[in-house]
């Protein structure tokens, strides 16, 4: 599904060039459930941005379903993101002036789906994440856990192949955090969507079948390649 080959990314800040990712090679299959851990500044978000087509690597190759996606132009990338990828962020990033269903429907609107149809699908997805009674609420009227559910519904409404979550439980208490994690597991099982979760929480990582660890911009551990220590 996703093939990264010797991906490197360096940023230029003033005269100095810092290498954030160093030669990461990684293949993720459709329907996988994977976690990425690593210290702060190890390059997790940077890697996710590249996987999510928000950023381009300085070096290396990236193919989705065998297709080279690094050649695409910005608007084509927007289309690919819209159809293939769903994002969930630690800070939810809901639009405060749109109610829950309009937030969820946003990716469909950008796809040109008519409003009635978009609303129907958004409400359906809100029901799946357990918020059928909150479709008309505005983000400020929702709890943190509920907001993250809306964000997950938004990420999934377009039926993407990949769901990328950057510390999705980072701002939530342990109980809510577990509820959200259960939701990811359920969606992964029910929809067959590839889920990639960045987390600092070993408890969250442990629930993923595949676990990756970044250290200093390099892939230090991949549970699929090295047998986990007993």
């Amino acid at each position: 599904m996703l093939e990264l080959e010797a991906i490197s990314r360096s940023f230029r800040v003033g005269p100095a060039e810092t290498q954030v990712l160093r030669g990461i090679s990684l293949t993720l299959a459709a329907g996988e459930m994977a976690s990425i851990m690593g210290g702060s500044g190890s390059g997790k978000t940077t890697l996710m941005n590249i996987i999510g087509l928000l950023d381009r690597p300085s070096e290396g190759a990236y193919r989705i379903r065998g297709e080279d996606v690094l050649a695409a132009r910005p608007d084509a990338l927007s289309g690919l993101r819209n159809r293939l990828i769903g994002f969930v962020f630690q800070s939810y990033l809901l639009l405060p002036r749109l109610n829950a269903w309009r937030n969820v429907a946003l990716p469909l609107m950008y796809r040109g789906v008519a409003e009635g149809e978009a609303r129907r699908r958004a409400c359906e997805m809100l029901e799946r994440v357990g918020l059928s009674h909150r479709t008309e609420h505005f983000p400020p009227q929702l709890s943190g856990g509920q907001r993250q559910r809306v964000a997950i519904a938004r990420a999934l409404v377009g039926e993407p192949a990949v769901l990328l979550a950057d510390e999705p439980t980072g701002a939530l208490d342990p109980t809510t955090s577990q509820e959200i994690m259960d939701l990811f597991l359920e969606m992964n099982a029910a929809l067959g969507v590839l889920v990639l979760i960045i987390t600092h929480d070993p408890g969250v990582a442990a629930q993923c079948r595949r676990r990756l660890v970044l250290e200093g911009g390099a892939l230090a551990h991949d549970s699929a390649r090295v047998p986990a220590p007993c």
Binding site: G52, L54, F87, R97
Partner: protein
């Protein structure tokens, strides 16, 4: 999609109300100024044209000039002109002076006009009561009063009317007519409303150093004013000796004033345009601030599949909403301003047909023009930079 875009634009503008109102006021004042300026220009133009219509565009004013000031027109030659020149229909020479007039203890200073019986017709004066001076009362002690002068000489107990006695210097004149109120013609050297009309013989008595320096002429309907002026000058020349005669035509005056009016309107339009540009800069400013504040939102929209064009549309919709709304309010403001001007000046209110479309169109164009740069800037944001914004 369009509905959602408009909905969001309005929502965002409402969310940052103070800033939106500031930009709105800028556009509104700009559009209002442009509209008011165009309308006021139109009102003033109509007013001058109306004055000329009152006076007649077929009018010529003659003035004799000598080396040391005003000269004297040859009355006999002048009065022959309607017969010798086919262009001239009527001509009325007059003496211009001034002094005090008294009635029942009221004393007012006014313009004294010594005229022939043609004057009322040539200058298009109408009478409110009585009659004008005639050929037969050249030597009678008669006077005709302008409307304003009659009003000012009236006392609560004795209104000036036909038969009233008016004292001028050592002489007493009997009022035989009072003129109806008239607009002052831009052509004439005096306002008929504030004048007292005497026969030429009587004027020579009441005016110190009287001189027959002026004449007003009406041309035949199809006559060319410039050619007629030339022929009149030529006809008078032999009798004028050292003196010369200045001929002013209403048409030339109108052309001059219209040029001035155009310049005036243009100037006012420029003032309005400056206000509009300031409004536009206001729009640009609030858009830039708004984009700065909403970088994460822009990043998110790009992440979930918005194309650059979707982002620029979002912000252009806000700019357009502001400028359309500002334009509509500006129309109200501009029309109100023009109405106030018309009321204060006492001129007839009219709305020049181009005022509203030009004002509204320009305001929308300005808003969109100034909204364009920020909108394009927003759409060019790098999604990861936008998302990383705190």
């Amino acid at each position: 999609m369009l509905k959602q875009v408009m909905l969001e634009a309005v929502g965002n503008l409402l969310a940052s109300r103070q800033r939106s109102i500031l930009a709105l006021v800028g556009i509104m004042v700009g559009a209002g100024a442009v509209i008011a300026m165009l309308a006021v220009g139109g009102i003033a133009r109509n007013e001058t044209l109306r004055q000329f219509r009152q006076m007649g565009t077929d009018t010529l004013l003659l003035r004799a000039e000598s080396a040391n000031g005003l000269g004297t027109l040859p009355q006999a030659v002048l009065e022959e002109l309607p017969r010798t020149l086919p262009e001239v229909r009527q001509i009325a020479p007059f003496i211009l002076g001034g002094g005090n007039a008294g009635h029942e203890g009221q004393v007012r200073s006014g313009t004294f006009l010594g005229v022939t019986e043609q004057f009322a017709a040539v200058a298009r004066l109408t009478l409110a009561e009585g009659r004008f001076l005639s050929r037969h009362d050249r030597f009678e002690p008669f006077v005709v009063l302008g409307a304003g002068m009659a009003r000012e000489l009236s006392t609560p107990y004795a209104r000036v009317r036909v038969g009233s006695q008016i004292r001028v210097g050592r002489y007493v004149f009997t009022v035989i007519g009072v003129l109806a109120e008239s607009l002052q013609s831009p052509m004439m050297p005096a306002d008929a409303n504030q004048a007292l009309f005497f026969s030429l013989a009587n004027a020579r008595r009441v005016i110190s150093s009287p001189q027959l320096s002026w004449a007003v002429a009406r041309l035949a309907p199809e006559a060319d004013a410039d050619a007629a002026a030339e022929r009149i000058r030529a006809a008078l020349a032999p009798a004028m000796r050292e003196q010369s005669v200045q001929v002013q035509s209403a048409r030339a005056l109108i052309a001059g004033m219209q040029g001035q009016m155009r310049l005036f309107t243009l100037l006012l339009g420029a003032v309005g345009s400056i206000a509009l540009v300031l409004g536009g800069v206001g729009v640009m400013n609030i858009m830039l601030v708004s984009i700065q504040e909403r970088r994460r939102e822009i990043g998110l929209r790009l992440a979930i599949g918005a194309r650059r064009r979707d982002i620029s549309t979002l912000f252009l919709a806000e700019a357009a909403t502001l400028s359309v709304l500002g334009g509509v309010l500006g129309i109200g403001l501009g029309v109100a301003g023009a109405l106030a001007f018309a009321r204060m000046s006492g001129w007839a209110f009219s709305l020049s047909p181009e005022a509203i479309p030009v004002g509204a169109g320009v305001s929308v164009a300005v808003g969109v023009f100034f909204g364009f740069y920020p909108a394009v800037m927003a759409s060019r944001l790098d999604p990861i930079v936008a998302l990383r914004t705190e």
